[in-house]
Symmetry: C2
Subunit: 336 residues, 2 copies
């Protein structure tokens, strides 16, 4: 499917969804919309399949869908994007969105979609008959590996997808459990855990594990948020207990010292994360932090990045890597 | 308001909502519906304002509303209650429900309510414009006290309401923050935290604290679930971080050894709960477990109950009481 990806003013560093979809998805990306970098190309900014960066949907040639590739805190819809969505729908393109704000509840978009015979896909709308957890995820055949984080936006989804790829390359029958909008866009299924009713948080993860858990030897579950996040810890905790993970992989971004967007909240030490995740997991299902993933995207020098990873591994007391820079296979043995 | 309370087959021990509303609410209860105990009176079973226990709504004389006083795991609507709801609506009574299953989404009930000019109040439907937490609950004038639990249904709401009453009697300007359907029915406002979107769990608690936090010197926040519950820990975690509590009161039921309804999950030791709640709270806002509440409803002998409370206090390393049996004032000094 040919898609244009909207990432105004945030491509690539603030556009987690756009970058994830471009790196791991099956889409053919024909353009990125970012009015601040219009005229550049994707490769000028990041090592991904190349495409032109344009200022608006008017400048995109033919495509099948417009995909909203940014997700601001709170998940709202910015009115400055409205014209691009209008243009897309008027041209008969579907619109794919992972925002909390549902396009299917926007009168103008619904009308335009009907008039032009196109679809609005709100990835974040939970599907199916969800319910409370039965506490049985551990009963599936697969071993469960969950990525957990020191904060939001440190690279949990990327780490998870890189682990799946590395495991498959090593001949392991590995499956992916997406829990957020980007993972769902990439894999084409899944429940957006941050959008389900809070009582069903663990249950929605459990449901996915029961659906896939007997088809694979290892399931890699995409974690969300952080257990110390002032706003999102509920989601993190529900995933930890609902997944009943056997092993945890702690994801962190090099240099991150405070919660992103909540700068008055300092991050605790790496060993205290390990302790907290393991102690919180234990009463439901014993889990061990077996490896670390360090996001070194802001470290220019390769040997500095290697040093940062080594120092992270030492703090963690477990093997670590930057899965994008050095590959997830470096920690695969510890994880499996 | 005159109400009949539906609690079939579960009154009083399995009817937390019914008992809570009868003990702390402002309603005039004219009958309890429990087909298993029909013919008895409330006082035959529990020390609450007396009323007849009847088999069905047909046997209730005049009343203004039928209140669903039981909340099964999962929050579904039992079809064996349908006839009572039908009868109530046909007689022009409102129906108040805290179930996950919304009466306002049931075609028959909606039609009957319209035909008879009565209201369906789904207490569990979140109201207002909820959003993610800003991490600012600690900025209100009031000190925040949160009840936390070793499990569901151990008496957190009761402990919270008894603390509010004891504080008021001691001349303290105390407020109550309800977070569940019974607390909301009793206090007439509040967000049902277990029903909000999981991303907004902490935010929905924060919103209530910001609304009331400058009007009182102490706010007592009703906790939910337990941080080690396989299904509900997400809600517990969101309330802990969203409330940014200064002090915690650990609620437990004497003799409870496993998670209710999830018997394969043993409860950890009391000291490990204290450690877990405090360590999980710390990165967001430092909180200390300052007192304990022990539910001794199944202990017949008064001196056995006293012994159980003393032994709980010792395990906890903090003063404890059974707020229903011995009064919350026994721990008030430690809590304030």
């Amino acid at each position: 499917m040919k898609v244009a990806i909207l990432a105004h003013e945030l491509f690539p560093d603030g556009a987690k969804t756009a970058v994830g979809v471009m790196r791991y998805g099956e889409y053919d990306v024909v353009a990125v919309l970012d009015r601040e970098n219009a005229g550049d190309r994707v490769r000028d900014h990041i090592d991904l399949p190349d495409a032109p960066i344009v200022a608006s949907m008017d400048e995109v040639e033919s495509c099948d869908a417009l995909l909203i590739g940014i997700a601001p805190i709170g998940g709202g819809f910015e009115d400055s994007w409205r014209e691009d969505v209008r243009t897309a729908l008027s041209r008969g393109c579907d619109v794919i969105s992972g925002l909390h704000y549902f396009l299917t509840e926007d009168e103008e978009f619904v009308r335009l979609a009907e008039e032009n015979g196109c679809e609005l896909w709100d990835v974040r709308e939970p599907h199916g008959e969800l319910g409370v957890s039965d506490g049985v995820a551990a009963e599936v055949d697969a071993e469960i590996v969950l990525t957990v984080g020191t904060d939001c936006s440190v690279g949990k989804m990327t780490a998870t997808l890189e682990l799946v790829e590395a495991a498959k390359e090593a001949g392991v029958d590995a499956g992916f459990i997406p829990t957020g909008q980007t993972g769902i866009m990439i894999d084409g299924w899944g429940n957006p855990i941050d959008r389900v009713i809070s009582d069903f948080t663990a249950g929605a993860v459990e449901e996915m594990i029961l659906e896939r858990g007997d088809d694979h030897d290892v399931l890699f579950v995409e974690g969300q948020g952080s257990i110390v996040h002032p706003a999102y810890s509920a989601v993190t905790c529900g995933i930890l207990h609902g997944a009943m993970a056997d092993r945890l992989v702690l994801c962190h971004e090099d240099g991150r010292e405070a919660i992103h967007g909540y700068e008055s909240f300092s991050l605790p030490s790496i060993p205290s994360y390990t302790k907290l995740y393991e102690e919180l997991a234990r009463p439901v299902h014993e889990a061990e932090v077996v490896a670390g993933m360090l996001n070194t995207r802001y470290v220019e020098d390769e040997s500095d990045a290697r040093e940062a990873v080594d120092s992270y591994a030492e703090e963690l007391g477990a093997p670590a890597t930057d899965p994008v820079r050095f590959g997830a296979e470096e920690v695969l043995e510890a994880v499996l």
